[in-house]
């Protein structure tokens, strides 16, 4: 989750003025969200790493033109989403196929271990329809409001809300113990 921080604007301003520590901090702060979205989009780590590199190169090149009309994370989600789509258009990578039938349900229900929980969640994410997953990522990884996500995804805010809800229902169905199981 990208934290909504009051010092984000100051960090961006410092980065624009050439403060390399500030630019590196922005990278550290947001890289998991960018990588996470790309990994869920492509389903494989190599493509996710390529996309992450490309996203931040674009950010470095364009940060001087970012004027804070939207939150930095909103801007970053747009860059990330566009980079993923561009990579598909260029044919350099293909998006993860969505076929819930092929998705292995998590084999354990004890998610107290963080690594197990993360693996289970990421496995279940692959069952989501791309539009639902994108909406969920925008809201949960990049911390966008329904309104901001709606503007970026080109749909009404109500549709974003519905997609996020549908995604969560799917995840709940996959991650919850079946009736009768202990």
């Amino acid at each position: 989750m990208v934290p909504r921080s009051t010092d984000e604007a100051a960090l961006v301003s410092a980065a624009q003025a050439g403060d390399e520590d500030a630019l590196a901090s922005l990278v550290r702060r947001h890289i998991d969200a960018v990588y996470g979205h790309a990994l869920r989009f492509f389903g494989e780590t190599g493509a996710a790493e390529d996309a992450t590199q490309e996203v931040f190169l674009k950010v470095f090149r364009s940060i001087s033109t970012y004027h804070g009309q939207a939150a930095f994370s909103t801007w970053l989600f747009r860059v990330t989403h566009n980079v993923c789509l561009d990579m598909v258009r260029r044919g350099s990578h293909t998006p993860v196929p969505v076929d819930p039938v092929l998705i292995d349900a998590p084999s354990v229900e004890d998610f107290s271990d963080a690594t197990t929980a993360r693996l289970a969640v990421e496995s279940a994410m692959r069952a989501l329809a791309p539009e639902d997953r994108d909406a969920l990522d925008a809201v949960t990884l990049f911390d966008l409001s329904y309104g901001d996500a709606a503007e970026l995804l080109g749909v009404p805010a109500g549709t974003v809300k519905s997609r996020v809800f549908r995604a969560r229902r799917t995840l709940a169905a996959l991650l919850s113990p079946s009736p009768g199981e202990s």
Binding site: I31, Y35, Q53, K58, F111
Partner: protein, 339 residues
Amino acid sequence: MDCLRVQELLSSAHDGAPVAADEIRAAREHCRSCDACSAFLSTLELVERAGAPAAPPGLVTSIETKAREHARQAHPSIAEAAEAVGVVEPESAEDGVAPPPRRPWSRFVAFASAAVVLALALSLTAIGIMNTIGGQTADDAQRALSSPEDFASEGPPGTSVPPPGVAETDEAIAPAPEYVSVAGWVYVRVSAARPQEDALVAAGAASRTFEGQETTEPLSAFALPDDTGDLYIDEPEAGWVRYAPVTRTLALEPYQLRTGSPIAEAGQWPTLPVRFAAPLSPDGAPTFRLFGSDDRGIEIYVVPGTTPAEGFAVAPGTSADDPAAGNPGWTWWEPVPGS
């Protein structure tokens, strides 16, 4: 309250959307006696706890390193900047202890201060204040701003040259920044540079001559294969100087300024490509029509029947921090090749 409504409320509340307190209380109460809704709530918490997949440490380090390299390249040291404007810093303090390295902020402020002093001095000269100012001559005023040798090698960056098609008015047109064009693409001087010379590749001929240049043979511009788009020109007096592309972004894609007339001398403004007639009205007609706004919120205009992907125009009069600021004419922007 039915399960669907309960889960919708839980989802919305989890995302920070406004939900009435009594409704969310009722929803949570419902979860205590409903396995399905309880499982939904647990999933919300599980996904939150799992967070985003962590980027591999090697990738984080690699991108952080690139971030620092980019910051250093985009904001050269004050010594390079001062060298570029002819202001030389002392090597060390009088006590022989080298001054501490400056933070980028202070470098920026110092460079800006030098630029302001230089601009003031040039303005005084350019507007021809040769008479006394409060009992001082213009030369005295300039001396009061800085020592004469600070500007000994610096003439005005260029004279005001109204671009073709732009009517002269009583209002003075400020000279353009130190532009150069290469194959019609416009670049602006950034600073003195020390590029890795053996890595440079030829990028074309510079459009104008430079201080100290004794022949009219155009100098070559070079690029480094690092995808930044910057050019380097080995100027006779200044040595290697870095020029950055003049760009603006639309939907985050960079568009670079083009010029119809090559920038023949310092201070000359880029012009519309010759295939376009100068618009006759502020709305761009009949040459252009309003399309929308770029990422800065500046209105952009396209040729009727085309899209911005083929290039777009910007009207004169943009704000001081815009890449087209000060240009008295319309400007034309095209996608940066290979971006």
